[in-house]
Amino acid sequence: MAIVNLALKSLWNRRLTASLTLVAISLSVVLLLGVEKLRNESRQSFANTISGTDLIVGARSGSTQLLLYSVFRIGNATNNISWKSYQELSSHSRVKWSIPISLGDSHRGFRVMGTTAGYFKYFRYQQKRLLSFAEGQPFNTLYEAVLGADVAKELGYTLAQNIVIGHGAGAISLVRHDDKPFSVVGILNKTGTPVDRTIHVSLQAIEAIHIDWRGGTKLPGFSISAERAAAMQLQPKSITAFMLGLNSRLSTFQVLRQINQYKQEPLLAIIPGVALQELWDMIGFAEKALLAISVFVVLVGLTGMVTVILTSLNERRREMAILRSVGARPVHIFGLILGEAVTLTLIGSGLGLLLLYGLMFFAQPLIETQFGLFINIGWPSAHEFQLLAAVIISGVLVSIVPAYRAYRYSLADGMSIRI
């Protein structure tokens, strides 16, 4: 106990170098645990976004790309697929339910998605949880919209409010379909997925707002009023993608094969779990590189600590001699130096953990709005504790070097210093 006390006091005596060492160690711990946390949480967030969907079908491109634009609203579709193909495939005898989606419009930076009422009935996230309404109900008629939780919160929208949908996916829309406003009829509960940042309307509504558009722009003098558009034939001709639920997951391969070999139109069907796994395999290298870098940063931090202690040893030989003269044995000197280093590592790790949680607290809303990733601030996982333990153990191991050196000095010097 006396040694611990002495170690603390000795550190306090050199508080400037000690605190700088602490900064280095805690920052390296923040980096190591932060990388790990971000990796795990982003995986969790991605995995929680889609559940219970057997196949996603879209225009032929890459499986990762299809997954990203259809589910995560990251990137854009290469092409649309025809309504006819959708109808034919969704009436397949092994298909239980289907959700068509149509993307490409936005409202003040939030994506607008055209779909059917089946979306609120069948779409599942986070271990087969269904969407639920905080207020209101699904859309019934043409100019009605259902908002995700974040859309309503950030824009301050309430039920029965009128909103205007813009063309294109940018945050600032210069061309808007302002002659056909939508009324908010429902607001969804928070899900922690991109659904929160989506405005849902019917497929017919997507058709209606584009009905007086020709060749990619609104022609002057050619406009169709909201009422007239509603009366027109609004059957969609194409959609962006669709999700399928099968009667049995065992027929996944068969249906997948049939869709990929569909002769009428080049289509791509993916199993969401497989596509997600492929994505992880792909970015696995980057994750490993990041982890390796942060491990090296921790090593640099610990080396810095050892350097500081080693350089201080020479000036402290007199101190050691005094300690020896009051009855300290060389083993005590060894314990003192080791205790100092371990204290630095422990406090540094603790500070790093605190700093990390502080940072996450501030960064969480930013990450969510910027990337649509929901970072859950929970207790550190077992793996994070393992990493932390590894840092502390390596701290103890490297501090054996200065402690042993001090031990040798005190053996050689005894009570008088011969330099």
Binding site: N40, A47, N247, F253, Q254, L256, I271, P272, V274, D281
Partner: protein
Amino acid sequence: MLRKRLYKYSLLTVVSVVLASHLNTTLMNQAMAAGPAAKANEKANEKASEQAKELDWSDLVPADWQPEKLFQGISLEGIEDDDPRAKVYLEKMQKIWAEAPVVTKLDGKLVKIPGYVVPLEDDGTKVTEFLLVPYHGACIHEPPPPANQTVYVKTGTAEAKIRKMFDTVWVTGIMQLEKIDRELATSGYTINAIKVEPFE
């Protein structure tokens, strides 16, 4: 291209029939009650996995299933790729594959089977549902394996850390038969896993 695939189908058929003829019918007696085993603790699971009947993929094919009879009258000789008959034959074979029957007496048995993982559901830390297939790459490039060569695995509370796509694992659990297609009255295999461990 088509013809190549036709050959592949017939080759697969021959292989599976040969395997099926080796089916040992006397080894299926170690029945275990489904309910208690699934809820049992780790120790009981250890015991269960020792008692589990180790299966081979050929054990999943009924001994009396002879797809070569269904393929009778199909001659691949002299068929060109663009022959309309080739397409008809291919579709017929795909249908036979999709309707492949199951070994009904495996229902409710405690089994242990090795295979490759095709992940379906993931909660971020572990794969909770996956398809187990007998060979690497199934489903991606080639015709899918027949219905009786695919097992749907639900891991439930079992620890199943799948490291990558097509990871090879041993799955231990209760085998159940599940209706796939009501119209065609076909069913397939489902395992409620007690244990999923790496194949080493």
